[in-house]
């Protein structure tokens, strides 16, 4: 095994193209435990954090650009970013401890392709786009097209995510992310729910609802979105949102939760997140 | 004679006797006397029991501890700690 720390995207692509067993990493918070638990070691470890673009954070012309390896602690510490995307910021800030926060990144959280990744439902709810580099140049794809299943992505062997782009939300729009973990910290989400709403006074005019940890990949819930749009988030609407979210789940039983539990709590978190998003949108 | 109190698990070897008078100046002598009277009880008392004399828990494996003529001797299940 060999460690490499390229300083340009091209150099990194070259390393990947030259060796099918090469693997990029940002925080290695999942990679190192995987290697320790006996998964085969990559031939080349490509550390992306010395490429400036990969660790950037900035806004220009109404679009935020976030490096794929930018530590999530940098996002949560950025008042402008957190103001624009409160839910995305809180989802990013929930990835592990303060120690982990200085290593974790959207790129790592997304491309590790865990169904329970905290940032991904919020990335989906905000229609975040991933800029992917490879031997054939760069392409931009919606984040929901990156992950295809647990541990599986649509990226080719010589591709990696360079950065993310997300448009500043329109007026009276806000997001929220809630997750359920057994403790108060340090756990993987048993259920995660991200909701983004645009409000016109008391009435919701646009909605996105995305759930994590309840299916092989993040689940959008169109029925919940439809229930929200045009509503005032009255009790009946929220119950419809909860029912739609529960129905959209395709969960498993595992050491973290049961199928029944995930279904039920997905509904609870979806309605609670919707309520918070609506309050924020009108704030 | 000391009064000996046995547990229900000991009683499996004593036809149900749980309390009896036994002669013996030490715990070891009491155990020997009981083992002679009740086949199979010896190993349980020697290896699988703790002993309290007049309510005071005795060091594990003790056989030399004195047993006064009017003592109350309890054989207990073994006690360990964490």
């Amino acid at each position: 095994m060999r460690y490499a720390a390229p300083t340009t995207v091209d150099e990194a692509v070259g390393l990947l193209a030259a060796d099918a067993d090469a693997r990029v990493f940002a925080g290695a918070t999942d990679l190192i435990p995987q290697i320790r638990s006996g998964r085969p070691e990559p031939s080349v470890l490509v550390d992306l954090k010395r490429i400036d673009r990969l660790v950037g954070l900035g806004e220009s012309g109404g679009t935020w650009t976030v490096g794929a390896a930018t530590p999530t602690s940098k996002l949560t510490a950025d008042a402008a970013f957190t103001g624009a995307f409160p839910g995305l910021s809180e989802a990013s800030g929930l990835i592990g401890s303060d120690q982990i926060q200085n290593r974790s990144s959207w790129g790592g959280n997304l491309c590790n392709a865990s169904p329970a990744a905290d940032s991904v439902p919020a990335l989906v709810a905000n229609a975040v786009r991933a800029v992917v580099a490879g031997s054939n140049g760069e392409r931009t794809v919606p984040v929901e097209e990156i992950v295809t299943g647990p541990g599986q992505t649509s990226l080719a062997d010589d591709e990696f995510v360079v950065e993310f782009a997300v448009d500043t939300p329109p007026a009276n729009t806000a997001d929220a992310y809630l997750r359920l973990i057994p403790r108060t910290e340090m756990d993987i989400a048993v259920v995660g729910a991200a909701v983004r709403l645009t409000m016109d006074g008391d009435t919701c005019t646009a909605a996105t609802v995305a759930l994590g940890a309840v299916a092989p990949t993040v689940v959008r819930v169109p029925a919940a979105e439809a229930a929200l749009v045009g509503s005032t988030l009255d009790d009946a609407t929220l119950e419809a949102v909860a029912a739609a979210a529960s129905a959209a789940c395709n969960p498993i039983d595992d050491k973290r939760g049961t199928i029944e539990y995930r279904r039920q709590v997905a509904g609870v978190l979806a309605k609670r997140a919707a309520t918070i998003a609506a309050e924020r949108a009108n704030a | 004679m000391a009064t000996v109190h046995l547990q229900a698990n000991h009683a499996a070897f004593t036809d149900g006797v749980r309390e009896l008078e036994v002669d013996g100046a030490t715990v070891g002598a009491v155990i020997d006397a009981l083992a002679e009277r009740f086949a199979g009880l010896g190993p349980l008392l020697r290896e699988g029991s703790s002993v309290a004399i007049n309510g005071e828990l005795q060091p594990k494996g003790t056989i030399y501890a004195s047993v006064a003529p009017d003592a109350e001797v309890h054989f207990l299940a073994p006690i360990a700690g964490g």
């Binding site: 435990p33 320790r36 638990s37 359920l180 057994p182 403790r183 108060t184 910290e185 340090m186 756990d187 993987i188 048993v190 595992d254 050491k255 973290r256 939760g257 049961t258 029944e260 539990y261 039920q264 709590v265 609870v268 978190l269 | 109190h5 547990q7 229900a8 698990n9 009683a11 499996a12 749980r18 199979g40 190993p43 349980l44 290896e47 699988g48 309290a52 007049n54 309510g55 005071e56 828990l57 005795q58 060091p59 594990k60 003790t62 501890a65 109350e72 309890h74 207990l76 299940a77 073994p78 006690i79 360990a80 700690g81 964490g82």
Partner: protein, 746 residues
């Protein structure tokens, strides 16, 4: 906040809170734990572990591993002497390294030593083991099922004379009175089955040791252990060596809680070192710690309890199953015996220990008591509910006092249960309103505590300072307690005393630090040695002042001359006596050894306020108070620390900790990510009330305090959850999915 029967004004040092002697090393990173050692030429060891829950080991081929780069030695079970299954040491020996039968996933079957960890790991993976997979038993229910496969072919039910293999480790009935009559006299009868999963002690330091076998064939071991003399005797037994061939030096120990009373690595490290001719260090990974070292037993406990309308608990009847994991043990017996807090004139308990193909269980802080207390404290709470009685008043009415029988029938010595209950009843917490929408629960716990063998040597140095040498590994601040008791005896400032834990060749035999015994028993040895020294110093002072020895008294750390002709002469200080020692008879040193009788049981009572999120099943602890009878608190900060630490462990056990096994016996959560111990944000401050009802069998009245604190939390939290929601949780852990399921079924 300290409630005391007799305010400890009579002591100058005992009851104070000096900075611990080993603290500086620990806050600067200099303290040496076993894994921190690095000897010249040291090799790294790695263990080959069974991937099967139950299998016959057909053959082991080590040739490929031996040929790998950097590999210096390989051992298997064949490198250790055979041991008779009837030998009490058998199960621990084969748990260290399997012989013919792999008994759980993670069971050690071979080991390698190589120059680097990478090489050792690679070679371990290259050891070829041929297994014949056998049917496995993974739970109490499977173990006791009709026609169940035998989990461990060497197990015979203890003390029954049975010669056939069995999944029953032990059977223990406990009876008094007449339960049928007791139930007939009862106005209220409650009954429930409680189940708990295996949980781990969760010490943060993984097991580690370094072994170095010299040219003379003698082994030196540096160990992370609660008892290095036990490491010596167990290692000697497993190797078939004499204890004179082994020296064990205690490293600083990074937590034990009972889990480091057994050994796993030392005999293997010694054999690897002997074969390689170089020192060998073995450090477990966290995954190995969780999947191959002792969890506390899973249990299944059915209890039926009766009470009269005026709150007298008349009767208890129950069956207590505890899993010992892959080996025999006493877990169920201990569990039944821990039911000792209430009078119950009629009692009929059957304790059944089972054997299965999960890791061999080990002691964990008040072993087996938390599971039983969960059942008892829940049912008593239900009785209180039905009788509409205050839960503390109900317990006060039935609480044992001196002379009342324990589950085994032996009378309790002087105990402070009533005082402990009253401490909570009188607390500000209990007298404050329950927060809006929350629930409040109360529960209690009992633990025996034990005495056993200890040795101590106290040396007075030439400048009047002292060194206190014991053989009790310090797992929670006990060195400070030893120094405090020596300071009190000698009248010497506690910081002029250096307490150390010496190796097996430098201090007399001392049993394991377990059963909350170190401050009690080893402390008593220290006190005895100090008293011997005082007599010696009085003699020396008499020589120095030219008076008869019986004219010298020892007061406030100095020899006082009484009677003519030197009445009123200047007192002789310790420093003067030690400075003159070479002219009065040589160095001053004293050694004391004992096998301590009269350990004092300790009772605890806990109070918790919780808020259950009734839509998600999450339980938040809003406030927590723990009261415990310490006898006498030698160093109150570390008494509080034991109470708080025990509470936190019990809270973890109650809410989230559990072993999760796959259908083929592989632990699914062998890491701190999914083995969920409490983190700082899970807990509130844990308020403590130290109750002091002195133990008459100890010179300062010490009861052990280490263990009891883990006993009450499970019942306390279950009762708090019931108070808010009306739901009685009977299956641990009370994790969000289980709580929500119970709420749904309400």
């Amino acid at each position: 906040m300290t409630a005391t029967e007799n305010p400890p004004t009579k002591y100058k040092y005992v009851g104070t809170r000096p900075v611990r002697h080993d603290g500086l090393e620990k806050v600067t990173g200099k303290a040496r734990f076993a894994a921190d050692l690095d000897l010249t030429g040291q090799l790294r060891g790695a263990i080959v572990r069974s991937p099967h829950a139950h299998a016959r080991i057909v053959s082991i081929d080590t040739s490929a591993a031996e040929a790998m780069p950097g590999v210096k030695s390989v051992v298997t079970g064949a490198d250790f002497p055979a041991i008779d299954p009837a030998d009490p040491a058998h199960d621990e020996a084969v748990n260290n390294i399997a012989r013919d039968e792999a008994l759980y996933v993670g069971h050690a079957v071979a080991a390698v030593a190589a120059t680097t960890m990478d090489e050792a790991r690679a070679a371990a993976a290259a050891v070829e083991v041929e297994y014949e997979v056998l049917p496995a038993v993974l739970s109490i229910d499977e173990a006791i099922a009709d026609g169940a496969p035998i989990a461990n072919s060497t197990n015979r039910t203890l003390f029954t004379g049975d010669t056939e293999p069995s999944n029953i480790a032990s059977v223990g009935p406990f009876q008094r009175g007449d339960v049928e009559a007791g139930f007939a006299a009862a106005d209220v009868i409650v009954e429930r089955t409680f189940t708990t999963k295996a949980v781990h002690q969760g010490y943060i330091e993984p097991h580690a040791c370094v072994a170095d076998v010299g040219q003379d064939g003698k082994a030196t071991i540096w160990a992370s252990s609660q008892g290095h003399f036990a490491v010596r005797s167990k290692t000697a037994k497993i190797l078939g060596w004499g204890t004179d061939k082994i020296k064990v030096t205690p490293a600083e120990i990074g937590g034990g809680f009972g889990g480091k009373t057994t050994i796993y690595l030392e005999p293997i490290a010694v054999r690897l070192s002997q074969k390689a001719g170089r020192p060998v260090k073995i450090v477990m990974t966290r995954e190995e710690v969780l999947s191959a070292t002792g969890p506390a037993p899973a249990s299944k406990i059915h209890v039926k309890m009766g009470a009269t309308n005026d709150g007298e608990l008349t009767t208890i009847q129950g069956t207590l199953h505890y899993s010992n994991g892959s080996a025999k043990g006493y877990a169920a017996l201990t569990g039944a015996m821990s039911i000792a807090s209430y009078k119950f004139p009629n009692l009929d308990l059957m304790a059944i220990g089972t054997v299965d193909n999960t890791p061999k269980s080990a002691a964990y802080r008040a072993p087996s008591a938390p599971q039983a207390a969960f059942a008892i404290e829940t049912l008593i709470d239900e009785v209180a509910d039905q009788l509409e009685m205050d839960p503390i008043d109900l317990r006060l009415k039935n609480a044992v006092v001196e002379g009342d029988p324990t589950a085994m029938g032996a009378p309790h010595p002087k105990i402070g249960f009533i005082e402990t209950l009253e401490a909570i009843k009188n607390s500000e917490h209990y007298n404050s309103p329950v927060p809006e929408g929350a629930g409040r629960g109360f529960g209690t716990g009992f633990w025996f505590n034990i005495g056993e063998q200890s040795s101590a040597t106290v040396n007075l140095n030439e400048d009047g300072t002292a060194t206190v040498i014991t053989g009790s590994p310090d797992i929670g601040g006990s060195r400070a307690s030893m120094a405090l008791m020596a300071a009190e005896e000698l009248g010497l400032d506690v910081h002029r005393i250096t307490p150390i834990v010496a190796d097996t060749e430098s201090v007399g035999f001392t049993d394991i630090t377990e059963g909350s015994r170190a401050t009690f028993a080893t402390g008593m040895a220290v006190v005895n040695a100090c008293r011997d020294l005082i007599e010696q110093m009085k003699d020396r002072a008499a020589v120095m002042r030219g008076v008869a020895a019986d004219q010298v008294a020892w007061i406030d750390g100095a020899a006082i001359i009484e009677g003519p002709p030197s009445e009123g002469a200047d007192p002789v200080s310790i420093a003067e006596i030690t400075a003159a020692a070479k002219m009065t008879g040589g160095p001053l040193t004293a050694t004391a050894s004992l096998n301590a009788a009269g350990a004092g049981p300790s009772f605890a009572a806990h109070l918790a306020d919780v808020r259950v999120d009734e839509e998600t099943g999450q339980v938040e602890i809003l406030r927590y108070t723990a009261a415990q009878d310490a006898g006498t608190a030698i160093h109150p900060s570390y008494v509080e620390g034991q109470m708080q630490g025990g509470s936190a462990q019990g809270i973890g056990w109650a809410l989230n900790e559990e072993y999760v096994f796959s259908a083929d016996g592989v632990m699914q959560n062998a890491g701190f990510l999914d083995y969920r111990m409490p983190v700082a944000s899970d807990l509130p401050m844990i308020e403590t009330i130290i109750v002091e009802v002195p133990n008459p069998s100890h010179p300062y009245g010490v009861r052990g305090v280490g263990e009891t604190g883990i006993v009450p939390p499970i019942g306390t939290l279950a009762n708090a959850i019931a108070d808010q929601t009306g739901v009685r949780m009977a299956d641990l852990p009370m994790s969000p999915p289980k709580v929500l399921k119970a709420l749904n079924e309400r």
